[in-house]
């Protein structure tokens, strides 16, 4: 598979799934094995020791990850003590999670381990920095459930998107759901000078005038916005949402006027449905991002957790055509 070589161009990589059971872990295992063959020094962690994971089902439901000699990994104390490999502890974090403090260790003899990690992207960022300082070539973050926040370009440099039968057993729906997210990941970026100006803005909805200067519209949360909101276009038709973008915002803007450009921070801030997005684009609305994520590959898990199996080759081809990008069957690449 060609995409593993691309990974080493980046400092950090996240693996996120459209749904649970889309084969993130299988994909991670494949990447780790290939990177080991290539002699890369890898750091691995995960996001979230959240409620869903601290579940008795978890230990059995979540497949274990194979870690190779020299790999640095971060996990919680409780998962560390259950590891099936030989490793040496190098750091213990003073912050505690539900599964004890997070620990960093180096693998001495390869084997399996369970990964758990920071609950917030802020802590995740410091962990990636820590792995960096231990001299890893690349830090890989295993996604939890269907969380996307870790794929933000402010957290990890590149991403792999996992999709599969778990999203929908209906190929048409699977393709349309995957394609929608794929489109959001590939949204165009604003030009660098504007990005520099908008990057420092921490909250609220802002307008960008024709000279490219931002103006605070005094709307603290876009979730509170309604159609009666006056004057939001007084500086022009370009707006910047510093936080989350919701369906409601898109619909309010679509109803306001044609040809509005809305800038979001990155695709992980878009909590929108295809329906609202379509309404917005039908009115010539344009959605841009400050920073686009580097999508390295899309992988497919043809098996659904209920045991339903899609035809791998056909589905990969249909998806590839729709996304205009190669799609890999994780079960096949593992073999």
């Amino acid at each position: 598979m060609p995409f593993v070589r691309n990974i080493l161009h980046y400092n950090s990589l996240s693996i996120v799934g459209l749904e649970k059971n889309t084969g993130k872990t299988v994909c991670l295992n494949y990447i780790l094995r290939r990177l080991n063959d290539m002699g890369a020094h890898v750091g691995v962690t995960s996001i979230g020791v959240d409620g869903e994971q601290v579940d008795s089902v978890f230990a059995t439901a979540k497949p274990e990850i194979v870690l190779y000699e020299g790999t640095h990994f971060i996990t919680s104390e409780q998962h560390y003590l259950k590891r099936q490999l030989v490793s040496c502890l190098e750091a213990v974090d003073s912050r505690r999670t539900a599964l004890g403090p997070l620990v960093t260790a180096r693998v001495l003899i390869r084997g399996k381990a369970l990964l758990s990690g920071a609950a917030t992207t802020g802590i995740l960022r410091t962990q990636i920095e820590q792995l960096d300082s231990m001299g890893v070539d690349i830090s890989i973050v295993d996604g939890a459930l269907s969380r996307l926040s870790l794929a933000s370009p402010t957290v990890t440099d590149a991403m792999i998107l996992a999709t599969g039968a778990a999203v929908s057993a209906n190929v048409k729906q699977l393709v349309s759901k995957t394609k929608f997210l794929h489109n959001l990941i590939l949204l165009d970026e604003v030009d660098p000078s504007l990005r520099e100006q908008l990057n420092t803005i921490q909250s609220g909805l802002w307008a960008v005038d024709d000279e490219g200067h931002p103006h605070d519209l005094g709307i603290a949360s876009v979730f509170l916005i309604d159609r009666a909101e006056k004057d939001i276009l007084r500086f022009g038709k370009t707006l910047f949402a510093s936080g989350a973008v919701s369906d409601r915002l898109l619909r309010v803007l679509a109803a306001k006027e044609k040809g509005i450009t809305l800038i979001a921070r990155d695709f992980t801030k878009l909590f929108i449905t295809p329906e609202a997005y379509n309404e917005f684009t039908r009115r010539d609305g344009r959605l841009l991002v400050l920073q686009r994520s580097k999508l390295i590959a899309v992988t497919l898990n043809p098996t659904s957790p209920q045991g339903f199996l899609l035809d791998s080759k056909t589905t990969c081809n249909i998806l590839s055509d729709a996304l205009q990008t190669p799609v890999y069957d994780v079960m096949k690449i593992e073999q």
């Binding site: 560390y80 502890l89 213990v92 003073s94």
Partner: protein
Amino acid sequence: MKIKELIKQDAGFQYIIDSMEFMSSAGRRRMLKTDFCNNADELRNEWHRLDCAIQATLEYKYKKPYIDLRHCLMCLHDLQGTLSSLSNHTALNEVELFEIKTLSQQAQIAKGAIEGLGLSEILPIPDTSEVFSLLDPDHTGIANFYIYDSYDPRLTPLRRELNALQTSDGDPIRISELLALQNEIQAEVCIRLSDQLHVWADTLITTMEQMAYTDFLLAKAELSIRWELTQPEIGDAIEYKGLINPRLKERNEKANLRYQPVDITLHPGVCLITGANMAGKTVLLKSVGTAQIMAQCGMYIPASKAVVKLFEGVLTSIGDDQDEMNGLSSYAAEIIKISDILRSCRQHDMLVLIDEPARTTNPVEGKALVQAIIKILNDMSSTTMVTTHYSQLGATCRRLRVKGFVENMSDLPLNPQNINRFIDYSLTEDNSDDVPHEALRIATILNCDTEMITLAQQNINQ
């Protein structure tokens, strides 16, 4: 009394803690469990240690030993749980052993840095090098940890076989067996190491506590320098020159407002404080309370000169404790609190600060209550400050009046933004039984409703 309980007294001490720069959570915890000390010798010793720490900080602030020590303290984890397990003969796991190894190493680095600062005498750190050696059987000198092969002769061959099988995708059943056996041996080693470390439990607890105390002392020293705090003397009465309320001073500085320090002397018995609204009576109570707590937990004081009397505790009734969930009105909550204070003062020598007692009930009974409170407290050994707006109380206690509003104090226009510049916050002895009547004047300056003010003035004139 512990600091933790004194924070609840709402004398403004929380702000002091929040302003201190602790390197570790253990240092902060150490501060919170400090006793409110009324032993003069102990306090003088603590102030001496603080003085040494201040001198060392001034001399070495940006130099190696000081930076090393701060770094050690930043890495300090609070190992209370782990260390009490060790005392109780509970076997520690690998992560806990790692933490102990790190502590023993950091303690030795801290010890060296403290020597470099010339503070070994006041900050003795136990020698934990044997603990480190026990957890570093291969003499790597690094604070990494795992169950090293050298801990058990069975580990080397086992791991060699495991490694061979893992790298060649060998028999998974054999791999499982080897991992299970390894875990068993590791658990045995953990138990053995925990046994060997047990004799060190007390030393490690002392080490941890000393490191936490070092953090606390350095935070106090840093604050003393930053706020230019003063070492108090101990006497039979409170005597402050240039007393400052750090919180208000900082707020005023941010808002570009002037801050006026005050002088005050307080003797056992009651001192009644009167003064117009906005004259800073409540702030004065909080300043006195904060300074007292600071002194008695071994800190220096925000004043240019300070003599403190030592008390068994500080009791306050400041602010509105209305608690609708408890079904208590402002008045009920307050009067229960004051009644508790009186009970306490019958047995202990306390500093008591009461802000405008009985202000939320009818003035007839309110005044009678204030008279009673003053009478009772004035006959006790405790030192009490009571602020009030009631006049003609007929009390025989000492009275201080905040000078308050001075019309020609500034050349600036008199408006709500500048009003602070027209108030003289200094105190003066007052022999009259009357209180300043400036409520309407102040309401006028604050641009309040003119009809209300005119009508009120007419009511007074009648």
